[in-house]
């Protein structure tokens, strides 16, 4: 209304933010001149609680750190503890873990693919995306018993073997999702309005990527082939055949393209994993986990989540409980350092697409 600056809080109760967080902006007309992220609405003190729990009891906690993609957390913690306790896990367990991680990545990307359209008001793909994601959640339910929280990956392997005929059902679901995808593409990729809004939106300067530690699809959209799966392979990823996907636009549209191609890659990888799945044990016997003690040590393990590099910095001190577990969520950098700088100069209408494009997940920022 006037040329004065208006102070506006986007969130926490706002349909456009991606979770329980808040962005304080100063507006001049429609343009943002200053932005600040406020987090802490979901702080449950996981890191403190884990110091009070024995190792095995930490697993139900960590899967809640990132709600939609919980397996990455379990896998990271399990791998870190195995490294500290010097446990070798069977080959089949590694492949099952990789399968679970890829399925989890795929369901997150499908939800995201609808979500980027939803952030601009196109609600049809949102509904489809969340509906189609449920096919994968059904697979998870069959495998682990839970839709969202699985607590399936444990130190020493996985909790139980794949059920009879699971592989075929995975392949069937992949076919089904692949059949559905062209419809999404027509609505999202070929949409003139969508292209007009997203092309060239919020370009990230290339030198920020290394300096700020931007990871994941956002970095890949800026031309950096940063993918933990390739750079420092974990589980069975070194035996899989794939290339890192990069785009060179640095804007939201490139991030969209990267993720769209990631969906295809995930489907391809899942097919490959199923075809290469070895036979054998799925769990090494651990000592009694209730009295399981790990010698003093520290390590940093990381993996590729859908949003970027997920890292666990684990300390043990020879007792039955972790000394400290520091969780590095990719959204911490994306949501605070990057977002505050990126939003300056943008239109208020573009806040929601940018938030979704950076895929900011509040619970992993504050744990």
């Amino acid at each position: 209304m006037s040329t004065e600056e208006v102070r506006l809080f986007i969130g926490p109760q706002h349909p456009g933010v991606t979770g329980n967080m808040s962005i304080e902006v100063l507006l001049k007309g429609d343009t943002i001149t200053w932005a600040k992220t406020h987090i802490g609405y979901l702080h449950r003190a996981f890191e403190k609680l884990m110091e009070r729990r024995i190792f095995i009891k930490s697993f139900p906690l960590v899967c809640r750190i990132c709600v939609p993609e919980s397996d990455t957390n379990e896998e990271n913690l399990a791998r870190g503890l195995e490294e500290l306790a010097d446990i070798e896990i069977p080959e089949r367990a590694k492949w099952i873990r990789t399968l679970v991680l890829e399925l989890s990545r795929l369901q997150m990307f499908i939800m995201w693919y609808g979500g980027i359209a939803g952030s601009m008001g196109l609600s049809t793909p949102v509904q489809w995306g969340i509906g189609d994601r449920d096919y994968i959640l059904d697979l998870f339910e069959e495998l682990t018993g839970g839709r969202v929280y699985h607590i399936y990956i444990l130190p020493g392997g996985v909790r139980k073997d794949l059920p009879e005929g699971f592989e075929e059902r995975v392949l069937k679901t992949m076919d089904l999702i692949e059949r559905r995808l062209p419809e999404y593409d027509e609505l999202i990729m070929d949409n003139a309005v969508e292209q007009k809004r997203l092309k060239g939106l919020a370009p990230i300067p290339k030198e920020w990527v290394e300096e700020m530690g931007i990871t994941g699809p956002v970095a890949r959209a800026c031309g950096f082939p940063y993918d933990v799966r390739k750079n420092s392979p974990y589980e069975a990823y070194d035996k899989l055949d794939f290339d890192v996907i990069t785009e060179d636009g640095c804007d939201v549209w490139s991030m969209l393209l990267v993720r769209r191609r990631e969906i295809d890659l995930s489907i391809k990888l899942i097919r490959e994993i199923v075809s290469k799945m070895p036979k054998g044990e799925f769990l090494t016997r651990l000592p009694n986990v209730l009295y399981w003690e790990i010698p003093k040590g520290e390590t940093y393990v990381k993996s590729e989540a859908t949003r970027g590099e997920f890292g666990y910095y684990i300390f043990t001190d020879g007792s039955g409980k972790p000394r400290r577990v520091h969780v590095k969520g990719p959204s911490f950098i994306h949501g605070i350092t990057l977002l505050e700088r990126l939003l300056v100069g943008q239109n208020i209408a573009d806040v929601a697409p940018i938030l979704v494009a950076l895929q900011i997940c509040p619970p992993e920022m504050e744990r």
Binding site: P12, Q13, H14, P15, G19, N20, G40, Y41, L42, H43, R44, A45, K48, L49, R52, P60, L61, R64, V67, P68, M111, V126, Q127, W128, I130, G131, R133, D134, L137, R147, V148, Y149, P363
Partner: protein, 190 residues
């Protein structure tokens, strides 16, 4: 903007009676508008509940973006102190009659966060809860069943958490102020 007549004043007790009471309850039960505020992790299962597969809209429920127009607030899981403050504010901005649905084990007695310094243990010390849906996290079917039960309660005129909140306001306020140290909220709007 003038002086606000509802500011800093105890709300009058609202009673509904008369011939329309039955129709009102019937309509209220079939048109539950949920405020779009994902307070915790249960919000991820609210999405399937409200979209294609489980489609809560066939029961007349929908998400609205502002608390002023909402009837139901879904407390989806644990509440941290920081969020509790916002939830109370959102709840008080909603217009009567209004209902609270709590998802998960955490609002009942703290759940797995019983020893966390930042998550509250019992929600019904601070807000009147009409429906509890257990499970961590509750499946969409469970959430729908919870809403269905809420509809039955409204139909019978038994979902009266909001009346209780107005009556026992001092008790609730006392509890709220005990844990929210810096009370920078206006006491307003019912």
């Amino acid at each position: 903007m003038g002086k606000d007549k509802f500011l800093n004043e105890k709300p009058e007790k609202l009673t509904y009676s008369g011939v329309f009471k039955k129709i009102d309850n019937w309509a209220r039960a079939r048109s539950l508008w949920v405020v779009a505020y994902g307070t915790g992790c249960g919000a991820i299962e609210l999405r399937p509940t409200f979209t294609s597969r489980f489609d809560a809209e066939r029961f007349g429920m929908r998400m609205v973006g502002t608390p002023r127009q909402a009837d139901v607030i879904v407390v989806s899981g644990y509440l941290t102190v920081k969020t509790l403050k916002r939830v109370i504010r959102v709840y008080e901005q909603m217009q009567s009659p209004k209902y609270v649905v709590a998802l998960g084990a955490c609002p009942i007695n703290g759940g797995m966060y019983y020893d966390s310094y930042n998550a509250i243990n019992r929600l019904d010390l601070y807000l009147p809860v009409d429906i509890w849906v257990t499970g961590c996290m509750p499946r969409p079917e469970a959430i729908l069943a919870g809403f269905k039960r809420l509809q039955e309660l409204i139909d019978d005129g038994k979902a009266d958490g909001w009346k209780k909140y107005i009556e026992a306001l001092d008790w609730y306020r006392g509890n709220q102020r005990k844990i929210i140290k810096n009370w920078r909220m206006p006491n307003y709007n019912w």
